[in-house]
């Protein structure tokens, strides 16, 4: 079984996208869940620090230099596939922040309690919205930050508004 059969990345397929535990503990970082050879490179152009590259050309999956990446998240809204997330698992309060692209209405507000979902759309845990970015530069791909228990930082990739 692979993601080709149901659209969900398996741990072994994700392995190359995931920063080490040591890097996660150091501060915010991006997770680019883009594993196929598709012709696309806006993420490379978006990163001012040169942390994302496609050394093998336009069709190569992107490679993230996790030491150069500071998790600023500017690449999130640049990705046409909405496959980039940013995670801050360095907090000392047992929580982690997950930044994700969210192109649905209505947008949540800071402080909202939502249901965090995994890559299969299954409810994982409750979460609180901590930031909502929706500037003109993001071109209708708002970026929402949610706070989840630390152990769910690498499983939560979407959320559902309560009552929705």
């Amino acid at each position: 079984m692979s993601h080709r059969s149901d659209g969900v990345l398996r741990p072994n397929e994700l392995a190359g996208c995931v920063p080490s535990e040591e890097r996660l503990a150091r501060g915010p970082v991006v997770v680019v869940e883009c594993v196929e050879r598709i012709p696309c490179d806006p993420c490379v152009a978006a990163c001012a620090k040169g942390a994302i590259s496609k050394p093998g050309g336009l069709n190569d999956p992107p490679i993230v230099d996790f030491d150069a990446c500071d998790g600023c998240g500017i690449c999130l809204s640049a990705c046409p596939g909405l496959s980039v997330f940013a995670v801050d698992a360095s907090r000392k309060d047992g929580k982690a922040t997950v930044m994700l692209p969210y192109e649905f209405l209505p947008l949540p507000a800071v402080g909202d309690e939502v249901t965090a979902l995994d890559r299969e759309g299954e409810a994982v845990c409750g979460a609180r919205v901590t930031r909502v970015l929706s500037s003109k530069a993001l071109d209708r791909t708002p970026i929402v930050s949610i706070e989840v228990p630390r152990e769910h930082a690498m499983t939560v990739r979407h959320f559902r508004r309560k009552g929705a």
Binding site: G7, L9, I38, G57, G81, F104, R119, G121, D139
Partner: protein, 486 residues
């Protein structure tokens, strides 16, 4: 039902008007299609089949399938999916093939047609989608006076419903949404010697490149030194029990309803096909507030990009590979669908049938090039499954077997809009090269190489294998045919 707020699109609607449908007074917005206005008012049955009286509804939304023929202001067999709504129109369900209209009956039109004799133009482009507009931009920049014709009322082709960001690199408009690319291409035409005429159907292309045109019910004639055919593609249909029930839609038709007209296409949808179109339209349905029960795919693997699949999976939509639809259920409209597993020979597995409650089935099962005009004109054709079926034989400048007649975009083989734009550029440059012998050869070569490099790059990955193979076989056929002609 209408979409009031959308995360990506701001709908610009005409003024609200009343019209008559089978004696009832309904409201719609001026300029939207009659069929869209009816759909928004929950009218699903638009006509009955002639022999068996079966209900027929909205299906293709691009004036191709004839499922929406109705009598409008006394004129029978009007394609209501592409006819703009005007105040006071009398729309009725017609009996059989409709009655001959009284002599004075006519559809109100926006204009008076084009002049009967349009004289001669260096370049005529048929189709104002991504390929046609790109051809016009490139030819226009090189100084070729160009006229572009499109049968729709809005230029942009299918770009006008693509709310997602495009892939590729910056030179392929990556990260820009399709709906904005159409506008950008039209902006690029400003100041160039190019006219774009919408609402014009090109009826035929005859010897010496004479085009017969139809606008507002009036015929016109135009001679062209060169022609670019950028006629696009049509959606494939799928045969299953009661597949003609209203509520079975083409994926493009669903996009037209929700992304162009802002009409809610259904409450809960079953998507058939997990290629990029099926995955993208499923995501767009979620954005429009429509539930997607599942995406089913007869093949054992998802055909589209993982990133498109992931977007709908994390929103809770299952993707069922090795599944097919057995039948649509419902009396006058879709009320449910029966699906089942298929084995490795694509045969239904008995005992795996189950019913999914949905009010629409959306078909995203591939496209076929619109080759009719090329065929009528006499372009030699070849059948290449990798390119979607019959396509006009063409060389690597995209010229067909007819001198100075070029073909580009989906009409020359099914691909993506990004490659359609590059093919359009290549066809426009190649046409200019043949029309203007004084052009700087090295500059022309540079421009052509640039477009070809882009095509090679976009087709280089595993998802480009089909078109790559198709285009290679096309060139082999071309060389064989050219040899035979000598």
């Amino acid at each position: 039902m209408r979409i009031s707020k959308h995360p990506i699109i701001t709908f610009t609607r005409g003024r609200e008007v009343e019209f008559e449908f089978d004696g009832r007074t309904l409201t719609g917005f001026e300029g939207e299609s009659i069929a869209a206005a009816l759909h928004a008012d929950d009218v699903r049955v638009l006509r009955r089949s002639i022999r068996h009286g079966r209900p027929r509804g909205f299906y293709c939304a691009i004036g191709r399938c004839s499922s929406c023929l109705m009598t409008v202001d006394g004129v029978p067999n009007v394609m209501t999916c592409v006819t703009p709504l005007r105040a006071g129109m009398k729309v009725s369900t017609q009996k059989d093939k409709g009655a001959l209209p009284p002599e004075e009956a006519h559809l109100p039109t926006a204009g008076q047609g084009l002049p009967e004799d349009l004289g001669k133009v260096p370049l005529a482009v048929v189709g104002a989608g991504p390929a046609g507009l790109s051809a016009a931009v490139c030819a226009g920049r090189l100084g070729v006076r160009t006229m572009v014709f499109d049968e729709n009322d809005t230029a942009g082709g299918q770009l006008i419903k693509q709310t997602h960001m495009f892939f590729g690199s910056r030179e392929h408009y990556a990260r820009v949404r399709g709906i904005d690319i159409g506008r950008k291409l039209l902006d690029e035409l400003r100041g160039l010697p190019v006219e774009v005429h919408t609402g014009v159907t090109v009826l035929g292309l005859y010897g010496d490149r004479i085009l017969s045109l139809l606008k507002d019910g009036r015929h016109s004639r135009l001679a062209a030194d060169a022609v670019v055919l950028a006629t696009g593609a049509s959606e494939n249909v799928l045969a299953f029990e009661d597949c003609d029930l209203p509520g079975v839609y083409g994926a493009g038709a669903v996009q037209t309803l929700m992304n162009v007209h802002g009409v809610v296409p259904a409450r809960r949808v079953l998507m058939v096909g997990a290629g990029n179109i099926g995955l993208i339209v499923s995501y767009q349905l979620l954005q429009a507030g429509v539930e997607v029960a599942a995406v089913i795919e007869a093949a054992g693997e998802i055909g589209g990009y993982h990133v498109h699949a992931a977007k709908i999976r994390r929103a809770g939509v299952p993707i069922l590979t090795s599944h097919t639809i057995l039948r649509a259920l419902g009396r006058e409209r879709v009320e449910a669908a029966e699906i089942c597993r298929v084995d490795s020979d694509w045969q239904p597995v008995r005992g795996t049938e189950r019913t999914v409650e949905v009010d629409a089935v959306c078909l995203a099962v591939g496209l076929t090039p619109n080759c009719e005009l090329a065929l009528q004109a006499g372009c030699a054709q070849t059948h290449l499954p990798e390119l979607g079926g019959w396509v006009a034989l063409h060389d690597d400048d995209l010229m067909t077997a007819l001198p100075n007649v070029f073909i580009a975009g989906d009409a020359s083989g099914i691909e993506e809009a990004s490659t359609a734009m590059l093919e359009g550029r290549l066809a426009g440059i190649s046409a200019a090269e043949r029309l203007l012998p004084d052009l700087d050869r090295s500059e022309v070569r540079r421009l052509k190489d640039e477009a070809r490099r882009g095509l090679t790059e976009l087709r280089a990955g595993p998802f480009g294998e089909r078109p790559r193979t198709g285009k290679r076989r096309m060139l082999e056929s071309w060389k064989r045919e050219a040899f035979a002609r000598k």
